[in-house]
């Protein structure tokens, strides 16, 4: 029965899907504020914002991939590779613009490579990006010999450490990326195409959508995001570290999923991803404030992903029930 479905849908699932994640965030925020006085201090809030920048930027890339029904496992290694090469360039040439272009360029090449491999040979994105993850890691380790490049200069440091007024500069970068991602997803034909490709590839193809280009675009964009995140991170550390940011893509994917984007593709908005990223940010920050050790933090985050995925499945079940 068609009608019953519609009316029956005003249930937990649909409401959670729309607003649940905001409520969860608010609830956590309130609890943490009450629990620990220093949580809400100006310095800590700025800290949280600074901390979520890298993950949020990566999450924007992962979100495009996930909406298309793909995933990028190479993100953190591409980040390290691009970020370190960017640091290397600024040390070698002293030219900030060149450093940024190298970082972005390398990342974009990796993303485009992922995209080409996925669409041309029809290789599952999981495998393709797993392979390029190894390539990126091996390449930068070979290039650097495992060495870090430190003292990158004031101009480069400003990217990750600077402030405009009371607000950290990287927060502006994050905001800009979020805006661009929102624009792509909601206001461009290719954004529409991504939802269609992830929702039903065959139908998208039959509607004249260029499925290959759409997937390629998402993969290249994800690569670019890794590059931006890499530059920001290396700048914040004032050091190009080829072994940095291990498994950051998992945090980014977690943020996307907690935000309510379905792993099966075709759904999700960038607004939800911000909230997902902020939830992870405040949980991590709160655990730091409470002196919970890093290993235990991982346990908590792992459980969180499980809960998010279970909720996602429940929501979809309740939606497809008659």
């Amino acid at each position: 029965m068609m009608k019953s479905k519609e009316n029956g849908k005003f249930n937990f699932g649909e409401i959670y899907n729309k607003f649940g994640i905001f409520l969860v965030f608010l609830l956590m925020f309130v609890i943490f504020s009450v629990w620990n006085q220093s949580f809400l201090s100006g310095m800590n809030v700025r800290n949280i914002l600074r901390q979520i920048v890298v993950i949020t930027i990566m999450a924007c890339g992962e979100q495009l991939m996930i909406i298309c029904g793909m995933i990028d496992l190479s993100a953190s290694r591409v980040l390290a590779c691009a970020g370190t090469l960017s640091a290397y360039t600024v040390l070698a040439t002293g030219n900030l613009v060149a450093a940024i272009l190298v970082g972005l360029g390398v990342a974009l090449i990796f993303g485009a490579f992922n995209g080409i491999v996925i669409v041309t040979f029809d290789i599952p994105p999981f495998i393709a990006t797993l392979a390029s993850m190894m390539v990126a890691e091996g390449a930068i380790m070979t290039f650097t010999g495992g060495q870090n490049y430190s003292n990158l200069g004031a101009a480069f440091q400003f990217i990750g450490q600077g402030y405009i007024g009371p607000i950290p500069f990287p927060v502006f970068i994050m905001a800009f990326i979020l805006l661009v991602t929102y624009y792509i997803l909601s206001w461009t034909p290719i954004g529409r195409a991504m939802y269609a490709v992830g929702g039903n590839t065959a139908a998208a193809r039959a509607s004249g959508i260029n499925v290959k280009f759409t997937k390629f675009f998402a993969a290249a964009y994800a690569g670019l995001m890794s590059g931006i995140a890499g530059i920001v991170l290396m700048s914040r550390m004032n050091s190009g570290q080829p072994a940095a940011a291990v498994s950051y893509e998992m945090d980014a994917i977690t943020a996307v999923i907690i935000g309510g984007t379905s792993m099966s593709g075709g759904t999700g908005t960038v607004v939800n991803t911000i909230v997902g990223s902020m939830i992870i940010g405040i949980i991590k920050n709160f655990m730091n404030l409470q002196n919970i050790n890093a290993s235990l933090q991982k346990v908590v985050l792992g459980l969180l992903v499980m809960i998010a995925v279970i909720l996602d499945i429940q929501v979809r079940k309740s939606r497809s029930k008659g």
């Binding site: 019953s4 519609e6 009316n7 005003f10 206001w187 954004g191 075709g266």
Partner: protein, 503 residues
């Protein structure tokens, strides 16, 4: 006729979902060894009724009796134990397993822990198949069977777990006429063994062949129950739609004009060969044939979904190369896919987005022109009378007929010159069918050409000006309206085979 035992009886069953009464005091019974046909438009409550019978739903009010005993506990499992089985419209066999393995799936006979007693399984399965009077080799792989055979295996599987009442939900919606005959013959055989069948179908002409009794549902109410011979097909339709339908097919007024599309020697090795035909403006051209004759493959090639190795596509006198869907769209050629869920719709997105999908170019700008997109979708919703609360509703929440209208809507916005429809009315009720035929006629009247693939001869005869007939990848015949007859078309459809046999 003697009074037969009632194996299933529903008394005043009601079921509501928030905001809608899906079933309103429905009473219905099935006699032993008979086929009881259930008809009604989409949304009339057939699916809800079935789900109550097989335990998926619990009725709000009313009583359900199986073999004279009142059923208190409603669960799919319990109903299965009582002997009720459902053969769904879409089958889910495991294609690479054998018939025997599919029959015993989930309860494979074992010897020792975790070791399948393969020999015993094959023997038992073969005995089961033979006892029921069928002649399948149970070692055959499921994939090698036709859809109707798979349905029969599904039925055998149901009987092997003691099913006495089998619900068949549109079993013939995706099989050919030949297969339908096979299925009906087997149903007869099952009846003789005392098995009762609840049969749901939108194909009214087959009801008389297979059914004993018929119940019409409309708006969640049982309208009436009859012996199958008491009503004519027209009377059944009238009861289903609640008004008199003067005609199942609209009158086509369009004049046939100049040549529009010309296909010359289109060939794809091992799929189809030397396909040549012409389509004129204002014409509705049918494509008949058995499933697997290559009709879908030909139109998919014309639409750029599949490739062709040689041949020529000429539109408006200009030879065009079509390599991908967007090439076809640019030439004004569009196609409604055979499977609307697989290729027509992105089910989890809204109606509005689905309608907008092939038309995104129209809304291009710095910001996607969503206002225009919504206006277009709204206009189409009204024009095609798509029944939905809003255009923001997800496509998956619509009934089959309305989903099909959404797919048509998204293509109409392209102002197609050649509209190819592959089985456009499959699984759709009479009312919606009429509306789809009407759209085809309107398109023809506007000077477009329509190609309709259909496995249902009555609709080919009812609506087409001319029909091509395909068999085994070749065009074996062409029949014009004046010469239409089911026998003639059928003989061409089988023609390919006859020619081969002679060799």
């Amino acid at each position: 006729m003697e009074k037969k035992k009632k194996v299933l009886e529903l008394k005043n069953i009601s079921k509501s979902f928030p905001g809608v009464k899906a079933l309103d005091e429905v009473s219905f019974s099935v006699e032993e060894g008979t086929v009881h046909v259930l008809v009604g438009e989409n949304g009339a409550g057939k699916s809800t009724l079935i789900k109550i019978i097989n335990g998926m739903y619990t009725a709000d009010e009313g009583e359900l009796y199986v073999f004279g005993k009142k059923v208190a506990m409603h669960s799919p499992r319990h109903m299965k134990e009582l002997g009720i089985a459902t053969i769904h419209q879409e089958l889910n066999p495991v294609p690479d397993l054998t018939i025997a393995e599919n029959i015993f799936l989930g309860r494979l006979p074992t010897r020792g822990p975790g070791i399948v007693a393969k020999k015993r399984m094959v023997e038992e399965a073969q005995k089961l198949v033979n006892d029921l009077g069928f002649s399948y080799d149970v070692k055959r792989v499921m994939r090698s069977l036709t859809v109707s055979d798979m349905q029969i295996i599904e039925i055998i599987k149901a009987i092997s777990v003691n099913a006495k009442i089998i619900i068949m939900d549109e079993p013939t919606s995706s099989i050919t006429e030949g297969e339908v005959a096979v299925l009906h013959e087997q149903i007869h055989r099952l009846k003789e063994r005392g098995i009762s069948i609840i049969y749901i179908s939108h194909k009214l002409d087959e009801l008389k062949q297979v059914g004993d009794q018929l119940t019409v549902l409309r708006d969640g109410k049982t309208i009436s129950t009859h012996h199958i011979d008491e009503l004519t097909t027209d009377e059944i339709i009238t009861k289903m739609v609640g008004r008199k339908m003067d005609n199942v097919y609209p009158v086509k007024e369009a004049e046939i004009g100049e040549k529009l599309l010309e296909i010359k020697n289109l060939t794809q090795p091992n799929v189809f060969s030397n396909i040549s035909f012409t389509l004129h403006r204002g014409e509705i051209l049918g494509m008949s044939g058995l499933v697997g004759a290559g009709r879908t493959e030909v139109v998919r090639a014309i639409f750029g979904m599949d490739s062709y190795s040689s041949g020529e596509i000429i539109i408006n006198g200009k030879s065009v190369e079509i390599k991908k869907v967007s090439d076809a769209i640019r030439e004004g050629i569009i196609m409604l896919s055979e499977d609307r869920k697989l290729e027509g719709l992105v089910l989890i997105r809204s109606i509005c987005e689905n309608i907008g999908l092939p038309n995104l170019k129209r809304y291009r700008g710095f910001l996607l022109n969503k206002k225009r997109e919504r206006e277009d979708a709204q206009e189409m919703k009204e024009k095609l009378a798509i029944k939905t609360p809003t255009i923001g509703t997800e496509a998956q929440n619509l009934s089959g007929g309305n989903q099909q209208k959404v797919v048509i809507a998204k293509w109409l916005l392209q102002n197609p010159v050649v509209f190819i429809m592959d089985e456009p009315t499959r699984g759709i009720d009479v009312g919606a069918k009429y509306e789809i035929y009407k759209i085809m006629c309107d398109l023809a009247a506007q000077g477009a050409g329509v190609i309709m693939i259909s496995s249902e001869l009555p609709e080919i005869i009812g609506i087409c000006d001319r029909t091509l007939v395909m068999a085994e990848g070749r065009i074996t015949g062409e029949v014009t309206r004046e010469d239409f007859s089911q026998e003639r078309i059928m003989s061409f459809a089988l023609g390919g085979k006859a020619v081969n046999d002679e060799k």
